[in-house]
């Protein structure tokens, strides 16, 4: 094999069937065949199916979502092997439940499916993690937790990712979070000035170098009291 050449090129040519046609109707487009297959397989766990702008949405039972995504991933007739996105939607109407959204793609079948779970307000926002099915879920779920406070059960390392670990103002993308933040500018400034500049490493990282023993006394004390340090 010539190492200096790309071995092959992908699909070229224009006569294949187009997966996303241009003109689609708002609600009447044909659904993704996987939606019907899901209903056959899981019955009442599939609460509702909808097609908007040609994209099929499947609302599923929060308790079953892991099984359903596992089946979509593993079943040879589905093969949703690519997790595009994990995110959440909170509506402006406070009565409407928060939705967790998975965007799945099947590369072999060139299909796209949106799986949704509704989490009612007033209950702990918790749903199963798909980390063990897709490693792509690692950071996406962390971000979703960071922004919405949705806990993904089974995620091995669910901590804040974009905000720092000591961030106390809550979850920024929730609708009850004001655009300018919960704290006043002066309070935000005070907190950032009060931050301990040497505490840039998490406990995990300190354990790498066995550096814990070499830390200053006060820092060791604070760490032993459970203070999270990393960013």
């Amino acid at each position: 094999m010539n190492r200096f050449e790309i071995l092959r090129t992908g699909r070229a040519g224009s006569n294949e069937q187009v997966a996303t046609p241009g003109a689609v109707s708002h609600r009447d487009a044909p659904p993704n065949p996987s939606a019907a297959a899901l209903s056959d397989k899981f019955g009442s766990a599939i609460q509702r199916r909808e097609v908007i702008w040609g994209e099929t949405i499947v609302y599923v039972d929060p308790a079953k979502v892991h099984d359903i995504i596992r089946w979509l991933h593993d079943d040879p007739s589905q093969q949703y092997d690519f997790l595009s996105d994990v995110t959440a939607v909170e509506y402006r109407d406070a009565e409407v439940p928060i939705e967790v959204v998975w965007h799945l793609r099947s590369l072999p079948y060139r299909r796209f499916l949106r799986v949704k779970v509704q989490l009612p307000k007033g209950q702990p926002l918790e749903v199963a993690s798909v980390y063990d099915i897709y490693r792509a879920a690692d950071w996406l779920e962390r971000e979703c937790y960071d922004m919405f406070g949705i806990r993904f059960r089974g995620h091995p390392d669910l901590r804040r990712i974009l905000m720092w670990e000591q961030y106390k103002e809550g979850f920024p993308l929730r609708k009850d979070f004001p655009l300018r933040g919960r704290f006043s500018r002066s309070e935000q400034l005070r907190q950032s000035l009060a931050q301990n500049p040497e505490a840039r490493y998490s406990m995990e990282e300190l354990s790498i170098a066995d550096a814990y023993a070499e830390l200053p006394e006060d820092m060791r004390k604070r760490l032993s009291l459970g203070e999270r340090t990393g960013e």
């Binding site: 190492r3 702008w53 690692d138 950071w139 040497e198």
Partner: protein, 435 residues
Amino acid sequence: MSKRTVEVELSTTGLDAHGRPQRVPILTDDGGGGLALQAPAALEPELEGEHMLINIGPQHPATHGVLRLVLELDGETVVRCIPHIGYLHCGFEKIGEYRQYNQIIPWTDREDYLNSIGNNVAFALGAERLFGIEITERCKVLRVIASELSRIMSHLVWLGTFCIDIGAFTPFLWAFQRREEIYRLLEKWVGARLTTSATRVGGMAADIPSGWMDGLRQFVRTFPQTLEEIDRVLTKNAIWVGRTVGLGVMTPDEAINWGLSGPMLRASGVDYDVRKDFPYLDYETYDFEVPVGTNGDVYDRYLVRFEELRQSTRILAQAADRLPDGPVNIDDPRIILPPKSKATSEMESMIHHFKVVMEGPRPPIGESYFAVESPKGEKGYYMVSDGTAKPVRWRIRPPSFVNLAAIPKMVEGHLLSDVIAINASIDIVMGEIDR
């Protein structure tokens, strides 16, 4: 010990009788009258099993932005890598919920700032699906030109900085010279170089000026020469190959499972390009090929991106030839602003102008996820509308965010210097990762 860094004391082999560090002979008597190299383990026996903590970034030129990597090293080998992101987080998605659709377009410039006009196009396409708008043929071709120019720009920046990270300087200058030409073209078209804000829901901010196509044609004609020059300098260069082959390998299954997209995924041998698999903007009618690698290492990513530069030039040539005449914007006064001359002279146009600016166009209730093939990978805009002029949720699916998540997997077991090459091969833009 400094307060900011946690260091491990590197122990010496000990002190001699005078308190000076002991010298260890590298060559020792091999017993037969000659000299033999001592095994490294014998030289530094105390260091075995000692792991070191190294912090790269957040302000480091080789991290391509404010990325911080905490590395656990065994000697020079990376055992573990813990990335930290979020230093550039400014809440684009939150701000988008307080903006009308056209007002979000300037924010899309600033997330993946190397691909700003491509983001404009992607966002406009997503919003148009949400509105149910079919754009005009001329607009489609102009947007293809914008996306491909943007891909070339982004790949040129990647190529230049990747060269610098690995130690080659000349191709950087060649790449940035050509990139400057594209910026001049963009400046002529939309009046801005970096923050283009070139699209509007339902059309473009401006049609191309007269004579612009000649500039594009000249670029398309001369650009392959630059590519040939860079190709000649890099592709078979022994240092280049030595620094890139076999690094950061992702197998096809791993690459899919980790959610990699774009050149990262294709270098691993997975034939997935949004332009081919879920076509938009009539990409299925253009004649171009999608390069696919075989080994999934840094070198294959280089080859794939390099070939994409050639293919984008091909698409540009075809788009320049087929650009139809006709209007750029759709004919719907509820969405598109009337011409300024009419807005100041006709009552009806003035009302439309006022309504579009003050109230903003309103999509029907619904949601759409529109993915495009950005230079970094699959970039998706997920928008949810409740029927008002501002989205309930505007979500960016950032390709480099998901690609970067695989860096701990890719750098493990490689040398510290290779971390820089692997990180550069991901082609990250922190503005997009942190948003």
